[in-house]
């Protein structure tokens, strides 16, 4: 645990306030860590990924003795110290050659991890493609292709981590000409064993390869408002295989998935739980419809008159029978009305 310090001047106070939790969060900062031995391939893969992730990337250039799956204490410490919440740890061993661990943090603690290995000959760097590159700092588009990204837990996690890595910032506007490149993540054909209902764990060899490609986008005139898209490969090109994983702790995951309470204006726009019979008209006024039960006209209060009083009929009956003599008809007709 880092010591909690009180800021001594306004500048450090601003810096500390910037690290406070926010309702709408900044993009995740990623730290690229080298393990005890990285190897040429992983070093250049990490360099290329960093080029895509810039400016939200920090490079640790020295070697570190770190094994995230055995002890993630160092990652926790670095996350707090650097205000970062994502790690890419590169390590190449005899048992797991050319490996990279993607780790994601919540509240300065490791949330979940996913290890991938670069396949032999499955890497072509950013430099080896002699094509125009995207501007650093521009937001990439993401493309995932495979049915496993919606069905298999390992690939759901991978998709979530990669989305967080490349594109995890919530923005309200995007400049359309600024969309320059797309990162495509495609899986190999799913083997028949995975199509079944229960996913088989521990057997990473049967999982399909993950192909990561980056393309720049060219927009051509199509004669309509929507342009036709053409892609040019930009690099890097990676073929990865999934290895170990560590799923998030259920309790921590639940905390991490908490959403801020929706503002009143957002609810009126129709976000969140739909409220019935509310709508905003063209003038921006909130209009609602209210259901008032069925009206009982029998109880309607009309003009108050002596003649309409409840007990008035009887007096009249008596009076009438006195005057005209023995005609029972009107009083019997009136009785049911009084009972109403």
């Amino acid at each position: 645990m880092l010591r909690t310090v009180k800021p001594k001047n306004a500048r450090s106070k601003r810096a500390m306030d910037a690290r406070e939790p926010k309702e709408i969060e900044d993009p995740r900062t990623a730290i690229f860590v080298r393990g005890t031995h990285t190897g040429e391939v992983v070093t250049s893969v990490m360099k290329d990924l960093m080029a895509l992730k810039r400016p939200n990337a920090i490079s640790f250039s020295k070697k570190n003795v770190v094994r995230p799956f055995e002890d993630a204490a160092s990652l926790d410490f670095w996350a707090q110290k650097n205000d970062a919440s994502m790690f890419i740890v590169g390590q190449s061993t005899k048992k797991r050659p050319d490996g990279m661990v993607f780790a994601r943090c919540y509240d300065g603690r490791v949330l979940d991890m996913c290890e991938v290995g670069v396949e032999k000959g499955g890497y072509k760097g950013l430099e080896s493609f002699k094509t125009p590159k995207s501007t650093p700092g521009h937001k990439p588009m993401l493309h995932f292709a495979s049915e496993l990204f919606t069905t298999h837990p390992r690939f759901i996690q991978l998709k979530s981590i990669l989305m967080d890595f490349f594109n995890g910032e919530v923005i309200d506007h995007i400049c359309l000409p600024g969309l320059e490149h797309v990162i495509s993540i495609t899986l190999g054909p799913a083997p028949a064993t995975l199509s079944g209902t229960e996913p088989t764990e521990d057997d990473t060899k049967s999982l399909p390869l993950v192909h990561i490609r980056a393309y720049t986008v060219r927009l051509l005139n199509s004669g309509t408002r929507v342009p036709r898209v053409e892609l040019t490969e930009m690099g890097p090109s990676l073929d990865l295989r999934l290895r170990r994983t560590q799923a998030a702790d259920a309790e921590l995951w639940k905390q991490a998935m908490r959403r801020p309470k929706l503002k009143k204006t957002d609810v009126e726009k129709g976000l969140g739980k739909r409220k019935k019979n509310l709508e905003v008209d063209d003038m921006g006024d909130l209009r609602g419809r209210v259901h008032v039960g069925k009206q009982d006209l029998g109880r309607l209060q009309t003009r108050k008159m002596k003649g309409l009083k409840a007990g008035f009929d009887e007096d009249e009956d008596v009076h009438m029978s006195d005057g005209e003599g023995g005609d029972e008809e009107p009083s019997s007709r009136k009785k049911p009305r009084r009972a109403e």
Binding site: L142, K159, L176, P177, A190, R225
Partner: protein, 311 residues
């Protein structure tokens, strides 16, 4: 008139922007992400991998662009800005949600009375100077009375009445009052010690109540004792691999040698930082030089020839 020829030539000139797939693509415009959940076509995947990947990516990006260009736009200097809807994919947060700030006494009153917050400009218009001046601070408007070269004195004023001092005292008084109110708000926002202690006791009590094997099921109940909520006993699954579970525990325990090494290492670290001590004792020349100085006692000679070593 037959226009099919013209239409065909027009169609040839512009390639189509529509994407047709068995399963419609899932586009999350908020995150600029498109997910294609159609199964991979094995033949074309094996035939030419790169071409297949590029064509699927193109189709996906095309449909993403279709939905992006249908969004409402705002003009800007760099080009049209599309207004993005909130993302549909849920990603975990990096930090917990910010805690709501405790309301000040005034804010509480204002919300109860429905008083709207008004933003007060930092600068005010000065009629005499015909310029905007600070409301407070450097050359502030609130110091106007203290700094004017002449001031009015009431008729019944004291002999040593100082209008400048009076204005200044009033201003300082307002500052002091504000500070007092601020401290009051801080004190009100802090949790009372009594509440903190009560909470502590409650948690301790709750822990003790579920610390029996039955998690408090057969304990004596006191009168007025509240029922604890959310307590569930967890059981091992009926068909578990016992050997594997035991092995997992064993592997978690360190071996005897490793544990002793760790402990001794830790102890050494706490008591004395050896590296630092050597550095200090040798004056930054290292342990070898220190050892040489202690045994040989060459003194100045050692210092002179320290770098060169044996020739």
């Amino acid at each position: 008139m037959d226009v099919s020829n013209i239409l065909a030539s027009h169609a040839a000139k512009f390639q189509s922007v529509t994407v047709e797939k068995d399963t419609p693509l899932d586009v999350d415009t908020g995150f600029l992400t498109v997910t294609d959940s159609n199964p991979i076509d094995e033949d074309s995947y094996n035939d030419n991998l790169e071409e297949y990947l590029q064509s699927t990516a193109r189709d996906g990006v095309q449909s993403l662009f279709t939905s992006l260009f249908s969004l409402p736009t705002v003009a800007s200097a760099d080009g049209p800005l599309a207004k993005l809807p909130p993302p549909t994919t849920q990603l975990p947060r990096c930090k917990p949600l910010p805690k709501p700030k405790p309301q000040t006494k005034w804010e509480r009153f204002a919300s109860a009375k429905g008083i709207q917050h008004k933003v007060r400009d930092k600068r005010v218009w000065d009629e005499e100077k015909q310029d905007w001046v600070n409301r407070w601070g450097k050359d502030g408007k609130n110091k106007e009375k203290e700094e004017q070269w002449i001031s009015e004195v009431p008729h019944n004023a004291d002999l040593n009445f100082d209008p400048v001092k009076k204005a200044r005292d009033e201003r300082k008084g307002r500052v002091a009052k504000n500070e007092k109110q601020r401290l009051g708000n801080v004190a009100r926002a802090a949790p009372r010690e009594r509440d903190v202690r009560k909470k502590e006791i409650d948690t301790t009590l709750a822990t003790t109540r579920i610390s029996t094997a039955s998690m408090g099921k057969f304990d004596k109940k006191l009168e007025g004792e509240k029922k604890l909520r959310g307590i569930k006993r967890k059981f091992e699954p009926a068909e578990s691999n016992e050997t594997q579970a035991s092995l997992a525990i064993l592997s978690g325990l360190d071996g005897e040698t490793r544990r002793t090494r760790k402990e001794s290492g830790k102890e050494g670290d706490d008591v004395l930082n050896v590296r630092k001590a050597i550095h200090k004792a040798s004056g930054g020349r290292g342990g070898i030089a220190l050892g040489r100085a202690a045994s040989g006692g060459r003194g100045g000679g050692g210092k002179r020839g320290g770098r060169g070593g044996k020739r």
